[in-house]
Symmetry: C2
């Protein structure tokens, strides 16, 4: 209720009465998205460890784990502390370790949270061992594996893999397993390329685990994940857990990749028409990049959605109407270049909903989710988001 309370003295009862811009979450779509990946992983005997970096919401985490707190992934220690404070105890912090994060994570471990961290060097292994000794706990960590040159991690054939594992043993740190992320899959759209990316992620992960086991190390968890590979994987043999985040909400980039329809996209930004420039084919709305984010992830895809695809208040897409430009608090709606569609006739004060390029980025611009369901315009709940580091 916080944002609406501050703004209006009382919470808006329907989306039509909401001060804009505002973030909407369609709970039916959320639940459908959650169930879809959950069923897929259950059928394969693979643990699903949802990445909370997208939603950053305890309410969403609870819907992802309806039978009680289960395993989660986080991108910041602030998230780890937040979810731990709400009963989640099995947490993977999937960002490379530094001295201050090692200390902070070990404080959580001391408090009884099974937090597992991530590293890829003997230097970090020693640092984590020291933080564990200071806190009086045995740390647990993944070794990061690089499956596609996307970011950090060791390749499966890098001899350093065994060196790092030995450094962990030396530093009295438990090796939780190996972790990899097929980040390059976001740039694909051909099904065969996505299937290959998923199989590569699996094969590299299993190869790394095999190397460690051959060297005498236990490697209980083989963790892979990205929303595209979670859906395009045809075989997950040897994989024990899947991490994904954006699958909960989906977005236009994921639509461009081919893992969802626009009807699966669970979040949208509610905006109000504040001006018109018919001579330019423009409608101005009060959602600029502050409400939509600067993310232009679809720019590199087959269909560039500019700053988002525009729907009416009920969520029906206006064909080819996009947020063509964005400044801080202004969005310019226009018909996509080359389209024969007509600009809809919207008056000052009319409301629209914008489907975002990138759910993680757009949601992060907002304090809370205005939750709707069943096609109703009533706001059923307001779910706060956490932020910061």
């Amino acid at each position: 209720m916080r944002e609406a309370d501050i703004q209006n003295g009382e919470a808006a009862a329907t989306i039509g009465a909401l001060a804009t811009p505002a973030l909407l979450l369609d709970m039916d779509r959320l639940d459908r998205n959650l169930d879809r990946l959950s069923s897929r992983m259950a059928a394969r005997g693979v643990v699903l460890r949802p990445h909370m970096k997208t939603a950053k919401s305890i309410d969403v985490a609870r819907r992802a784990h309806r039978s009680g707190p289960g395993p989660i992934t986080v991108s910041t220690l602030a998230e780890a502390e937040h979810f731990a404070g709400h009963g989640f105890r099995d947490i993977t912090y999937a960002v490379g370790l530094a001295p201050h994060t090692a200390e902070r994570a070990m404080r959580l471990r001391k408090a009884g949270i099974d937090i597992k961290v991530l590293l890829d060097s003997p230097e970090q292994a020693a640092m984590l061992g020291a933080a564990g000794r200071i806190a009086g706990v045995t740390p647990s960590t993944f070794v990061e594996i690089d499956c596609d040159g996307h970011r950090g991690g060791l390749t499966a054939t890098d001899l350093k893999l065994v060196v790092v594992a030995a450094a962990l043993a030396e530093a009295d740190v438990k090796l939780a397993g190996i972790l990899t992320h097929a980040g390059e899959s976001y740039s694909l759209c051909a099904p065969e390329a996505l299937v290959a990316a998923a199989e590569n992620e699996r094969a590299v992960a299993v190869a790394a685990a095999t190397t460690l086991r051959a060297a005498g190390h236990e490697c209980p968890i083989v963790s892979v994940g990205s929303t595209p590979t979670a859906y395009f994987a045809e075989d997950l043999t040897g994989v024990t857990e899947m991490r994904a985040g954006v699958y909960m909400f989906f977005d236009l980039v994921m639509h461009g990749v081919g893992v969802c329809t626009t009807d699966d996209i669970a979040i949208s930004v509610l905006a109000t028409v504040i001006g018109k420039k018919p001579e330019k084919g423009w409608i101005l709305v009060d959602a600029g990049w502050m409400a939509l984010s600067r993310d232009r992830g679809s720019a590199a895809q087959r269909v560039d959605q500019a700053y988002g695809l525009v729907c009416d208040l009920a969520g029906k897409i206006y064909p080819d109407l996009i947020v063509s430009q964005a400044s801080q608090e202004h969005g310019i709606l226009a018909i996509r270049s080359g389209s024969a569609q007509a600009l809809p006739d919207l008056s000052i004060g009319a409301k629209v909903r914008v489907l975002p390029n990138h759910a993680c980025a757009t949601a992060s611009q907002h304090e809370l989710y205005n939750v709707v369901s069943g096609g109703s315009s009533a706001i059923g709940a307001q779910w706060p988001r956490m932020r910061g580091w």
Copy 2:
């Protein structure tokens, strides 16, 4: 103190001890930037109405108006309410009006705040008049003028200008004046083009005011502004006030435009090294787009700074070291393509500072400013930012 309190139990005393990523504000540079534009406008007899959308901080607003609350511009009504709550009473809300914002602005007016709004249609004039009647106040508004096709507003020769002014009179709304914004100046870098953009902004604004006055309307305020034109204007005859925001902090885009040096950039993002990939020429840090924003404003400039230019902890630039890629919580530092510079030798845990592309966007990703001054690493203060709509 909020963020640091939550994270560490106590506020960090020096930037070296701060949990990262974190936003730093160099107060000496801030003050120098504030004084520079303030003196320039005072010398020309033009009122400076700082745009608070960049800083969103009461502490920064107070430094911009050291002798007490003065005129400000805001981009959201949440800002208007925030600054009004801290004693600022002369506020321009420079975003086109809709019914719900008209009502909300008139509640502020009823509370004694001289809030001026913005519109460009008879429809909005009637709407504002109605909101004023309901609140029992006389609204005051600018008519928005379009000087460069950037966004909303009427052209100076549009006959609708007089129609809107007549509609205001009809609706018992006070015409505060005309307001224009040379938003296209951000895409320029040649001094002669910038001088021309500033002169065009002035000339269009004055022409619009002249048209209104000739039709018998008082038009007391002639308000122009953007940071580039504020600096490149050679003549401000007929202009009564200047609005600018990013001049307080500056950023790499403004450096590319040519209105500041990198030594003028007052904010930076503190980050920690969390991984290395020497074979790729990469250093990984814990500042991704969540800390830096997705803004890539320099991409269209002569020098593309990717996601930011990297400095050491003391603020000295590493030549040609940029944040070449960013994911949510990861930044990849690399030497700019084509440069012969060597990658600096930074260990895990080492700290760097990143100069941002766009101060408004980067600052908006953070809860507070960690304020430093005098070249000291001590954190002198922590200034909260406000957010939301």
